[in-house]
C-alpha cells in the first residue's frame, strides 16, 4: 500500500512540474512587456523586478529562476496590488475557497449517494421520477442562473419572514456558507446521482446480490453490506476530478455571493492582467488539485481491496 502511495506522490510531483512549465510558457507568450502596462513603475522598482525575475535574460534562464522561486514557495509580488505578496493573497483567500469547496463536495457526495440509491431501489416509481426530474434540472440549468435564482430566493425568504433568515451574501458564519455550498455542489450532486443510480442498478441485478438473496439475507442488510459498498466505488473514482470541477466552478458562486475566496480574486486578477497573481494561483490550484486526486485514489484503495493488492 505504501508503495502505491509513494508511486502516486512521485507522479504528482512530475505533474506539478508540468503544470508550472505549461503556465510559464503560456504566460511568456503574452505579447508586450508585462511591466510596461498603464501602471507607472519607478526605475528602481523596475530594476529590482528585472533583477528578480531576470526579465532581460534569455527565456531558459527566466524559466529556471521561475522554477527556483516556486520551489521556494515564492510566487512573487502582485502587480496590481503593490507590496502584496502573492503568497499572502493565496494564504488569506484560499482557506475560504477550500471550506466552500469541501462543504460543497460533502453535500454533493452525500446527496448523490443518497438520491442515487433511492432512485435505484424505487426504480420507475414516484421517488425515482421526482429525483430524476431534479437531476435533469441540476445538469442543464447553468450554475450562474441557479446562483442568481437562489439569491433571489433568499431575499424573498427574508422578506416573508420579516428578518434575515439567511444572509444574502458575504462570508463569516455557517449561515453564510450553507446556500453557496449547496449551489456549488448542485450540479456535481446531480451528476453523482446519475452515476450512483446506474451503478446501483447494475449491482442490484448482479450475481452476488442474487447469491445474498438466496442466502435469505434481509433487504436492509443486502443494501448496506452488499449493494452500497460496491455501488459507491465508481462514485468515489469520479470524486477526485469532481473536486477539481467544484473548486474551479467556485468562481461563479464566489462572485455572485460576494465571497472573498481565491477564485474571485483570480478572476479579478485576470481582469486586471495581474500576471504574477494569475500564474501563482494557477500553479497553486493545479498542485492542489493533483494532490486532491491522489488523496481520493488512496481512499479508494482502502475501500476496494482489489486495488490495494494489485
Amino acid at each position: 500500500m505504501l508503495w502505491y502511495i509513494g508511486k502516486r506522490l512521485i507522479q504528482g510531483l512530475i505533474t506539478v512540474w508540468f503544470i508550472a512549465t505549461a503556465t510559464f510558457f503560456a504566460m511568456h507568450n503574452v505579447p508586450g512587456d508585462p511591466l510596461l502596462n498603464e501602471r507607472a513603475t519607478t526605475p528602481t522598482i523596475r530594476a529590482n523586478l528585472e533583477a528578480k525575475y531576470g526579465l532581460d535574460q534569455p527565456v531558459t534562464t527566466q524559466y529556471f529562476i521561475y522554477l527556483k522561486n516556486i520551489v521556494r514557495g515564492d510566487f512573487g509580488i502582485s502587480f496590481a496590488q503593490e507590496n502584496r505578496q502573492v503568497n499572502d493573497i493565496i494564504r488569506e483567500h484560499f482557506p475560504v475557497s477550500a471550506i466552500l469547496g469541501v462543504l460543497a463536495v460533502i453535500i454533493a457526495a452525500v446527496g448523490g449517494i443518497l438520491w442515487g440509491s433511492l432512485t435505484a431501489l424505487y426504480r420507475n416509481r414516484l421517488p425515482d421520477y421526482l429525483i430524476m426530474f431534479l437531476v435533469i434540472l441540476g445538469i442543464s440549468v447553468p450554475s450562474f442562473v441557479i446562483a442568481a435564482i437562489s439569491q433571489l430566493g433568499i431575499v424573498t425568504l427574508n422578506n416573508l419572514a420579516g428578518t434575515t433568515v439567511l444572509p444574502v451574501a458575504g462570508w463569516g458564519t455557517i449561515f453564510h456558507m450553507l446556500v453557496p455550498a449547496l449551489v456549488l455542489g448542485l450540479s456535481t450532486m446531480a451528476y453523482l446521482t446519475r452515476l450512483m443510480r446506474s451503478s446501483m442498478l447494475e449491482i442490484v441485478n448482479s450475481d452476488f446480490v442474487r447469491t445474498a438473496k438466496s442466502k435469505g439475507v434481509p433487504p436492509a442488510r443486502i443494501f448496506a453490506r452488499h449493494q452500497l459498498r460496491n455501488a459507491v466505488l465508481p462514485v468515489i473514482t469520479v470524486l477526485g476530478p469532481s473536486i477539481a470541477a467544484i473548486t474551479t466552478g467556485g468562481f461563479v458562486v464566489e462572485i455572485v455571493f460576494a465571497i472573498p475566496g481565491l477564485g474571485r480574486f483570480f478572476v479579478e486578477a485576470v481582469q486586471q492582467l495581474d500576471y504574477t497573481v494569475i500564474m501563482g494561483t494557477t500553479v497553486f490550484y493545479g498542485t492542489f488539485l493533483v494532490f486532491m486526486v491522489i488523496l481520493v485514489d488512496v481512499i479508494y484503495g482502502f475501500i476496494d481491496p482489489r486495488v490495494r493488492m494489485s
Partner: protein, 354 residues
C-alpha cells in the same frame, strides 16, 4: 395418465413442484419461459434437470427461490411444497426466510457470484448470523470449519481473503460451504461445474456427493452435461422449451430413453472410444421461439419421428414404465399400434450407437 413422480414406498417427497408456469414481459413481447413443469425431490437423493440453454431450467429453480425479478417476470401458475408447506411466491414462512436456512443454492459462475469487497469468511458467516443469530466471532469460526469441510486447505488463512484471491474451483467450494452453512434440507446447484475445468468438475461433484452422504440433504442439480448427470444423478428430468419432456431414474433415461429429444442428446455426445470413428450427430435446428410457443410439441420441428398430431396438439405425459414418464405422442396407445406411425429403432433404445 399424466402424473407427477411420487414414490409411495420411500419417504414422501421433500420438495414437490406442480404445474409451474413462469413468463416474462419484455420489450419484444411476452416470453413463456416455463410452461407447466412438475417434479419432486426426495430426501438424500439427487435430481438432475437437464436441457440445453434457454430451455427454462434455471428459471424454474430461480423462481422457486424467489430470485426472478417480478416486474418483468411473473409466476402464472403452479405450486411448490417444501415438507408440505406451500412456498411458491413466498419465501418468508412464519417470519423466517427459508432461503439459506432450509434451501441452499449455488450458482454457475463463482467469480461473479461472490461479493468482491467482502472477505470469504464473512460471506460464509453471514447466513449463520442472519438465521441462527450467531455472533460474528462464533459465525466466523464456524465458517472456517465449513471451509475445511469443503476441502479447502489452510481454511483459517483463506477465510480472511477476498474472492479475487481464490481460483474458480476453490470459489465454488467456498460457495458450497456458504450454501450449506445452516444445514439446509435441499441444495439447489445451478450448473455448478459449467464454468470449471473437467478435473475440478469431478472434485466438486465428489464433494457434493460426500456432503449428501453425511447430511442426507437432497440435491437438485441443473446441468446441460449428460456426463455430469451420469455421474451423480439418481433421478433425471429432461427439459425442452419450457416443459419436462422425460423424467425417470438415471438408468431409465440412459438405457431406456423414451423421448426423441433424449435420444438426440445421447447421440450427440462425443465418444471416447478409440476403436470407433464417428461423425458428430448434432440435432438440427434450434429450440422454438418462446415468444410464440408452438401449439403442439415444442420438439416436433427437429424430431425425426414426428407425426401429424405432434404439430397440432401438445403431447400428454405418458407413463412409459414404473416412475418413468415421457411427454411424447409416440407413447399414445394408438401410436403404438398404428402401422403408419414411426417407431424408434430398437438399437437406439438400448444405448447402442446408430
Amino acid at each position: 395418465m399424466t402424473g407427477v413422480m411420487t414414490s409411495p414406498q420411500t419417504n414422501p417427497a421433500l420438495l414437490e413442484v406442480r404445474d409451474l408456469a413462469v413468463e416474462f414481459a419484455t420489450y419484444g413481447g411476452t416470453v413463456q419461459a416455463v410452461r407447466g413443469v412438475s417434479f419432486s425431490v426426495e430426501k438424500g437423493k439427487t435430481l438432475a434437470i437437464v436441457g440445453e440453454s434457454g430451455c427454462g431450467k434455471s428459471v424454474t429453480v430461480q423462481s422457486l427461490m424467489g430470485l426472478i425479478p417480478m416486474p418483468p417476470g411473473r409466476i402464472t401458475a403452479g405450486s411448490a411444497r417444501l415438507n408440505g408447506v406451500e412456498v411458491l411466491g413466498r419465501n418468508v414462512i412464519n417470519g423466517k426466510d427459508i432461503r439459506g436456512s432450509q434451501i441452499g443454492m449455488i450458482f454457475q459462475d463463482p467469480m461473479t457470484s461472490l461479493n468482491p469487497t467482502m472477505r470469504i469468511g464473512d460471506q460464509i458467516a453471514e447466513p449463520l448470523q442472519v438465521h441462527r443469530g450467531y455472533s460474528h466471532k462464533r459465525a466466523f469460526s464456524e465458517a472456517i470449519n465449513l471451509l475445511s469441510l469443503s476441502k479447502i486447505p489452510e481454511a483459517a488463512k483463506r477465510a480472511r481473503q477476498y474472492p479475487f484471491e481464490f481460483s474458480g474451483g476453490m470459489l465454488q467450494r467456498a460457495m458450497i460451504a456458504m450454501a450449506i452453512a445452516c444445514k439446509p434440507s435441499i441444495l439447489i446447484a445451478d450448473e455448478p461445474t459449467t464454468a470449471l475445468d473437467v478435473t475440478i468438475q469431478a472434485q466438486i461433484l465428489d464433494l457434493l456427493q460426500d456432503l449428501q452422504a453425511e447430511t442426507g440433504m437432497a440435491i437438485v442439480l441443473i446441468t446441460h452435461d449428460l456426463g455430469v448427470v451420469a455421474r451423480v444423478a439418481d433421478e433425471v428430468a429432461v427439459m425442452y422449451a419450457g416443459k419436462i419432456v422425460e423424467q425417470g431414474s438415471v438408468d431409465d433415461i440412459f438405457y431406456r430413453s423414451a423421448h426423441p429429444y433424449t435420444l438426440g442428446l445421447k447421440l450427440a455426445m462425443p465418444t471416447n472410444d478409440p476403436d470407433k470413428q464417428h461423425k458428430l450427430n448434432p440435432i438440427d435446428g434450434s429450440p422454438p421461439d418462446l415468444f410464440a410457443p408452438p401449439p403442439g410439441c415444442g420438439y416436433c420441428q427437429r424430431c425425426p419421428f414426428s407425426m401429424k398430431i405432434c404439430d397440432s396438439r401438445p403431447p400428454e405425459n405418458f407413463e412409459v414404465a414404473a416412475q418413468h414418464f415421457s411427454r411424447c405422442w409416440l407413447h399414445h396407445p394408438q401410436a403404438r399400434i398404428s402401422p403408419a406411425a414411426p417407431s424408434i429403432p430398437r438399437e437406439l433404445y438400448v444405448g447402442e450407437r446408430a
